[in-house]
């Protein structure tokens, strides 16, 4: 089974539009949206949700006011500044845990001399299994300001692999998150092939360089593609040269085409409309297939 992960480093370079086009072009794929804190793939693939699952992960500390003796030890111990003063109540200083800052380490609960801190399991989002016009799709929604995006990414990928095995599909296409941190690392580990989508700008160039150090760090074969390349042909060449030096292949270029947004408005991919970008994406898919041995 092959797992193709599409990432970008810089956000907004066209990852999701290209992933959606690949999902349409591929034969019998399973699609996974791993950009769990700003998932957009469903806006073009229009999934029919079949299953919903709560994503429970980690714990959150809560101070029981009646048991608290206001010793303030928790404030000293917490490394995340998550314990806040709640003001005086009946002549006693009160404390509470700010759930948005709490990282769920459990130190305060363990060392509270009054055992006044509960440590409850939290629901940090949900993940779904759906059916689309391209095949099954696994996607998720991280709770607002929730922790554990990396774990949710791993959950989505695991489920996609299970479905692929069950349905004898030999390809998983993953829409990855931007950046190079926790959720990106969780999207990459153990993947077969990475396509990095970039743009011909100084930011695109800078961020690509960092993302390729990351794929090299994890020893995952990578190819790149410059989206909207004709906005700056010189920069495109510079980027492609840099990528090859970093050990990546160049899989293709996509022209700047307003049809991509028009297609998005109609909940379609560029390859389902007659468009220059659609043609380029179809070409790109052929080279990625060849490079990744799909």
């Amino acid at each position: 089974m092959k797992e193709l992960v599409v990432i970008s480093g810089k956000g907004g370079t066209g990852k999701t539009s290209i992933t959606a086009a690949f999902a349409v072009l591929a034969e019998n794929p399973v699609v996974a949206d791993c950009d769990v804190d700003a998932a957009d793939l469903h806006l073009v693939l229009a999934p029919q949700i079949k299953e919903r699952h709560e994503f429970r992960s980690g714990h959150e500390a809560v101070i029981r006011q009646d048991a608290c003796s206001s010793c303030s030890k928790c404030i000293t111990l917490c490394r995340f500044e998550a314990i806040k003063k709640g003001g005086m109540v009946d002549g006693k200083e009160t404390y509470y845990v700010d759930p948005l800052s709490c990282e769920g380490c459990g130190v305060c609960a363990r060392f509270c001399p009054d055992q006044a801190i509960d440590f409850n399991e939290t629901v940090c989002g949900e993940w779904m299994v759906s059916e689309t016009r391209c095949g099954p799709m696994v996607h998720a929604r991280l709770g607002i300001a929730a922790e554990n995006s990396g774990k949710l990414v791993s959950t989505v990928r695991k489920e996609a692999r299970r479905i692929a095995e069950e349905q004898k599909s030999s390809l998983i296409i993953v829409d990855g998150p931007p950046g190079i941190g926790c959720p990106v690392i969780a999207s990459l580990s153990g993947a077969t092939f990475v396509l990095v989508v970039t743009e011909p700008t100084v930011s695109g160039e800078h961020d690509l360089e960092r993302v390729l150090s990351l794929t090299n760090h994890f020893k995952i074969p990578a190819a790149i593609c410059v989206n909207k390349w004709d906005l700056n042909p010189e920069m495109t060449e510079r980027i492609e040269e840099m990528a090859m030096k970093a050990g990546a292949q160049v899989a293709g270029r996509i022209r700047y085409d307003r049809m991509v947004t028009k297609a998005q408005i109609e909940e379609k991919t560029a390859v389902e409309k007659e468009s220059a970008a659609g043609e380029d994406m179809a070409q790109l898919w052929l080279s990625v297939k060849r490079m990744a041995n799909i």
Binding site: A38, L43, F111, P178, G181, C182, V202, M235
Partner: protein, 285 residues
């Protein structure tokens, strides 16, 4: 005044707004690049690096001579960053949040803490802007400790602009908390609107005042404007979808240098924000 620029969706123009707004002000301003995974502000600001500091986070170090393999550390660690199979524990640095719990629960005092490098914070002076840039080392998963290190360099005397990472999870929260106002930058497309709604939920959860900038007006439709009108969300600025802006950006040239007429536009944006934001009392950061 601490102003955070955030977005939900990536690539909508957070950095463009941050650097151009900072450059357009007459006063000295601190610009904090909190998108530590992919910091880009520096690419648009030429200037001298004044200092650079290596940032570390505390991680455990086990003294073999004192450890008897009891496994208490592994049972305590919520992140499975330290595990013990009846002998000296194994440590997985990339999972560690640096809470210090393992060192505290170890009954034999076999665990001490040591600093692990996660990135650097550099200060760059460029005209009226002091840029504080956080840069996460490649392969490091945890951005929030580095973002906290960047924000420790906030200065209450000057206007501070925080360029946030995309998304709505912990790195974004770490960045925008404590700011006086959040400016959400979006684009007039289905993806832009969808992620704007998530960003709005996030700032409402934090009970922070906010407004919207719509970038690349004309590239999509009017769904973002309709949403903002229906929800009573102020739209402070619309930046047209102009190839000249895109080309300047692609070369690393500031929009206000390539198209000086925008200097006034950004100054007015700041005035509108100041009219809305609560003044900073130097409280919670």
């Amino acid at each position: 005044m601490i102003l955070a620029i955030a977005s939900g969706k990536g690539g909508t123009g957070k950095t463009t707004v941050s650097v151009n707004l900072a450059r357009s002000l007459d006063s000295n301003v601190r610009l904090l690049d909190c998108d530590v995974e992919e910091p880009n502000c520096r690419l648009f600001l030429k200037g001298e690096k004044e200092s650079e500091e290596i940032i570390t986070m505390p991680v455990p170090q086990v003294d073999e001579a004192l450890c008897d393999g009891c496994g208490e550390c592994g049972r305590f660690c919520e992140y499975h960053a330290i595990v013990s199979f009846g002998k000296e524990p194994l440590f997985f640095a990339e999972m560690c949040h640096g809470c210090g719990g393992c060192a505290m629960v170890c009954p034999h005092k076999a665990i001490t803490e040591t600093g692990r490098r996660i990135g650097v914070v550099a200060t760059i002076k460029s005209g009226n802007i002091s840029l504080i840039e956080g840069k996460l080392d490649v392969g490091i998963a945890m951005a929030p400790p580095l973002i906290r290190a960047v924000k420790a360099r906030l200065n209450s005397d000057t206007v501070s602009i925080l360029d946030a990472p995309p998304g709505t999870s912990c790195p974004v929260i770490s960045t925008i908390r404590g700011a006086d106002f959040v400016l959400l930058v979006t684009e007039p497309t289905p993806f832009g609107l969808h992620d704007l709604k998530l960003a709005v939920k996030t700032v409402m959860e934090l009970a922070m005042p906010f407004g919207v900038v719509i970038n690349r007006m004309g590239s999509g439709d009017d769904r973002v404007n309709r949403y903002c009108r229906a929800e009573n969300i102020p739209v402070f600025l619309e930046i047209p979808d102009d190839r000249r802006i895109a080309e300047a950006y692609s070369r690393g040239v500031l929009m206000v240098d390539a198209l000086p007429e925008y200097r006034e536009t950004f100054r007015k944006l700041m005035e509108k924000i100041e009219g809305f934001a609560a003044p900073s009392c130097g409280k919670e950061k």
